[in-house]
Structures are given as C-alpha cells and as structure tokens.
C-alpha cells in the first residue's frame, strides 16, 4: 500500500517535471498551490500529469469522471488517495 506521503511526493515530482519540460521552474509548490494557470500549466499539461501518474501509480481517478471540484494540489492528492483506497487499478472494471 502506498502511503499518503509517498503519493504526495510522487504527485509533486510529476508536477515539477512537467513544469521543467515546459522550460520553466516553480519557486513554491505546496499542497495549497492552486490548480489553475498560476503554476504555468495548461489543461493539456494537467492531462499529461494524469497520464504520467497513471504509469507511476497504476490508477487513474479521471477514468470514472470527476465528481468533486479540484482547486488545489492537495485536492488532487486526496483524489488519488481515495482512488487507491478503493483498490481500483487501471483496467479493472468499476461498478
């Protein structure tokens, strides 16, 4: 089982890598950072982050559609924690 701390670290690392791929850097990235363009990331970048996280965590909560509003990086971590706690892996059927 992946801990919340490990998951948080993975998500923050993937966000940083995505920002770096765009040729920029982030001075401050915390759970309170907002998921909007303040990090310099567009919607396609967030789609890429979800795809990379799927490879690293084996889960993709967005496959089931989004039921809650995501505003901060902390919300994103909560979403993945909740998905992993459901024990749903990519490719498994979801009822």
């Amino acid at each position: 089982m992946v801990s919340r701390e490990e998951l948080t670290e993975t998500i923050l690392a993937v966000i940083r890598e995505t920002v770096a791929l765009k040729g920029s850097s982030i001075t401050s990235l915390t759970l309170e950072s907002r998921i909007d363009e303040s990090l310099g990331l567009e919607s396609l970048d967030w789609a890429a982050i979800v795809a990379v996280l799927e490879e690293r965590t084996q889960v993709d909560p967005f496959q089931r559609g989004l039921k809650q509003e995501l505003q901060t990086v902390g919300d994103l971590v909560d979403l993945y924690v909740s998905e992993i706690n459901h024990g749903v892996r990519v490719g498994e059927s979801v009822r």
Binding site: T18, L21, G23, E55
Partner: protein, 447 residues
C-alpha cells in the same frame, strides 16, 4: 519466373556472385544447382501451398526458385517461432512448411538436367508488415512482381545492399532487381548501423535500399569516414515518408549518389518514384500520370490511386484496383503546397487531441532539428482527460542529456507547432520501437 530466369541464364552467369551474406558468398551457379536439387527432392510439392520459413538467404533464394519451377504457391513467412507459425498456418491453411534444415539435407544437382520449358509462374504470398493483429496475406505471381523490375545491362555486376527482410514486399523487389539483372545481392548479417557501414565498405556496395528509418540510423550512427568513402551510386528509400532533412543529409553525405524515393505498398505494388531530392512529390503528378497506368488524386486530404496493381488477391478477395476505373485509398494523408504534394502521415496515426487533429510527421519534423536529437517517434497516448495526448520518444546523440532536452524541445516546439501539437509526454529512449520492416511503429498506447 525467378526459377526460369536463374536456370536459363545459368550458362552465361554461373560464375558471377549472386549473393553475399556476412563472410559467405554464393555464385549464380551455386544457387541454380541447389534450386535444381530442390526441384528433384520436392517434386511432391508441385502445385502445393508451401510456407517458406527459412533464415539463410542463399537457401531462401534457392527454395523460392525451386518452388516457382514446381508451380507451387510460396508463402513467404520468414523464420518465426513455432507457435506463431502454427497460428499463421491455421489462418492461411498451407500444405507444408519448409525450413532451413529441409534445404540443408538436399544436395545440389548440375543444372544441365533441368526442365524449365513452361512459361507459367508460381504464386507467391507476402504478408503485410502490420505491427498489430494478424498480418494480411497479399497474393502475387512472380511474373507480375518481376514485370515492374527495370532490366538494364548496366546493372550487371553491381552490388545491391538490402535494408529490408527478404520476405517483405520491398525485400522481394530488391531481390528481384538484383537477380534479374545478374547483380550481387548483399545482405548484412544485421541492420545495426556499424555492421551496415562495414558491409558497405568491405563488399563494395554500389546500390542500397532501405526505409528512411534505416537511412536515418545509418547517417547518425554510422562511421562518417566509411560513409563518405563508400562507392554508393544509388540510394533508394521506401516504406515511409522521406523528410527533407533526411534527403538533405543523404545528399551531403553521398554527393555522388542518385537518391530515389519509391512510393509502393504490398497491396498496390510500385506506383511511382521521385528523384529530385525534395520531400513529397510534384503536384504535377495529380494532373499527369507519374508512370504509365497510374493515376493519383487527393480526396479529403488522403492520397487515392488508380491503375495497375501487381496483387492478384488479398486474403481471398479480388483487389478493387484490379478494375482500372476504381480508386483505392492509400491511407496516406497529404497536403498540396504550391507545386508539391507533401505527406502528413498515415490516416491511422493521426492523434486526436480533444477533437483537434495532429500529424505525427509534422511534430517529428519540428523536433528532429534540435541539437542532440538523433530521431524521434510521435504517437498518441490515451488520456482520460482529453481523449489523446501527443507523446514523443526521443533518441539522443552521445553526450546530450535528458535535462537539457526538455527546455530545448519546448522552445523549438513552441516556434513550429500549435499548443495542442506539442508533445506533453516525452521519454528519452535508447532506440525507437521499429517494426520488422524497419519502419517506426506509431501504434497507440505503446508503453
């Protein structure tokens, strides 16, 4: 056809070298006499459907010549694992499989006893190089395949290096070109650029054929000195779109060579060639037939062809192009830019990002010019958020690091591409995923 040709020209050409593979070389006499021995040994295969699963090139050529003389129907399946062969046999129901050992146990027989009076031609089935699912079986006759080969006395004694497997359509074309012109077919033991370079130099190769991927690897990883000192008179590209940057590099690296880009497919055969060193083909080809009996047009951005075909049938179906009035979709997306028609990629390779279509070729072309980028493969990666994302695998030259790539890539991409076309997922890989036919694989969701 191939069998009759080899046996009839035997007296004049028996001492000429037909084939070089690594350290081995075989004369036309060696191959003709082995084929003759096989005709005697395999008389029971006459008229049968026979799978040719042979790895050794000389054995392969002798076997297809013998099967042609026996009027058998040869299925060029190549050396494969037992299970894979079994699956193909279930699908295509051939009568017998011949392997390397079936040729090795037969002794050559002097050629003066051979009966080659018939004008008939054996059938040959080539499997498409499809990277996913079951390959398609395309049926040809040796005679029709040989009809598109230009025969010219100046080719006699030239040396043709083949950058394709012998069992695929492009491979059979190079094989027939060499054999029908009494030239020497040179088969490197591997398609590793170092090995190809050594073979070019050591074997005095004059003509070489391969996919743009084959040539790109050779230009980047081959020894510059060897390439510049080569005796290449002709470079032939086929199977993929040749980009301007590659054509320019070949022109620079081989200033003395004629560069020919052939447009052909297993199903449609050879349609036309371009030799002016520019990517795509002249828009004039849409108005005037590029070659006798071949017409081209563009419908909804896709290249359509009409005209002769070498194929007899495909998986038992008569080919639509058999009727001269029928247009066949090629699956190649093109764009007419002034006096040129440019390839934009395969219809199936287009990446759909939230409803906007991205051409992998366009993105690859934008990234290839970056410092340190040897090659790049752009493909669709499924996304639960946008449908698909543009993903890229990049091969870096020695001395370049992944760290510097991201920013460089982004900067170049931003200048040349729309935001939705820029690869959002980028991996640095040691080499690109390449199909058996040495083409870049762009199938979706490659992990």
């Amino acid at each position: 056809m191939i069998g009759r040709h080899l046996t009839e020209g035997f007296a004049r050409h028996r001492d000429r070298i037909a084939l070089i593979h690594g350290h081995d070389q075989f004369t036309y006499g060696d191959i003709g006499e082995l084929a003759n021995g096989l005709v005697d040994a395999w008389s029971a295969l006459s008229g049968q459907r026979v799978a040719v699963s042979i790895a050794a090139p000389a054995s392969f050529v002798a076997a297809i010549a013998a099967l042609d003389l026996l009027r058998s129907h040869a299925f060029l399946v190549g050396a494969r694992r037992h299970e894979e062969l079994q699956n193909l046999q279930d699908a295509f129901a051939w009568d017998r499989t011949i392997r390397d050992q079936d040729v090795q146990m037969v002794s050559p027989v002097p050629l003066n006893s051979l009966n080659s009076s018939s004008d008939d031609s054996g059938l040959v089935t080539i499997l498409t190089s499809g990277t996913t699912g079951r390959p398609k079986a395309i049926h040809h006759s040796w005679k029709r395949l040989a009809d598109s080969v230009r025969r010219d006395a100046r080719y006699t004694g030239t040396r043709w290096l083949i950058g394709y497997p012998l069992t695929l359509y492009a491979g059979t074309q190079v094989l027939l070109h060499a054999m029908l012109n009494w030239a020497t077919l040179v088969i490197p033991v591997s398609l590793d650029p170092g090995e190809v370079c050594r073979t070019l130099k050591d074997k005095g190769v004059t003509h070489a054929s391969g996919t743009p991927t084959f040539w790109r690897q050779l230009v980047f990883f081959g020894s510059r000195d060897v390439l510049q000192g080569s005796k290449l008179e002709q470079i032939t590209l086929g199977g993929e779109a040749a980009t301007q940057e590659l054509l320019d590099q070949l022109r620079l690296g081989f200033p003395q060579a004629r560069i020919v880009h052939i447009y052909a497919s297993t199903e449609l055969g050879r349609l036309f060639s371009v030799t002016d060193g520019k990517e795509g083909f002249p828009a004039q080809f849409l108005k005037e037939s590029p070659e006798e009996g071949v017409d081209l047009k563009v419908v909804d951005g896709e290249l359509m062809v009409r005209g002769r075909t070498q194929m007899i049938s495909c998986d038992g179906q008569r080919p639509p192009a058999e009727q001269p009035s029928v247009w066949t979709a090629t699956g190649d997306l093109v764009e007419v830019c002034a006096d040129r028609v440019l390839f934009k990629g395969r219809r199936n390779d287009v990446v759909n990002v939230g409803g906007r279509k991205v051409s992998p070729l366009k993105v690859e072309s934008a990234l290839r010019g970056l410092p340190g980028v040897v090659d790049v493969r752009v493909y669709a990666k499924k996304s639960s958020v946008t449908g698909h994302l543009v993903a890229a695998d990049v091969v870096l030259a020695p001395g370049f690091s992944e760290e510097t790539l991201g920013a460089e890539l982004r900067r170049a991409a931003t200048q040349a591409l729309e935001s939705y076309e820029i690869p959002r997922l980028v991996r640095v890989v040691p080499k690109l995923e390449i199909s058996q036919a040495l083409k870049v694989v762009r199938s979706e969701q490659v992990q």
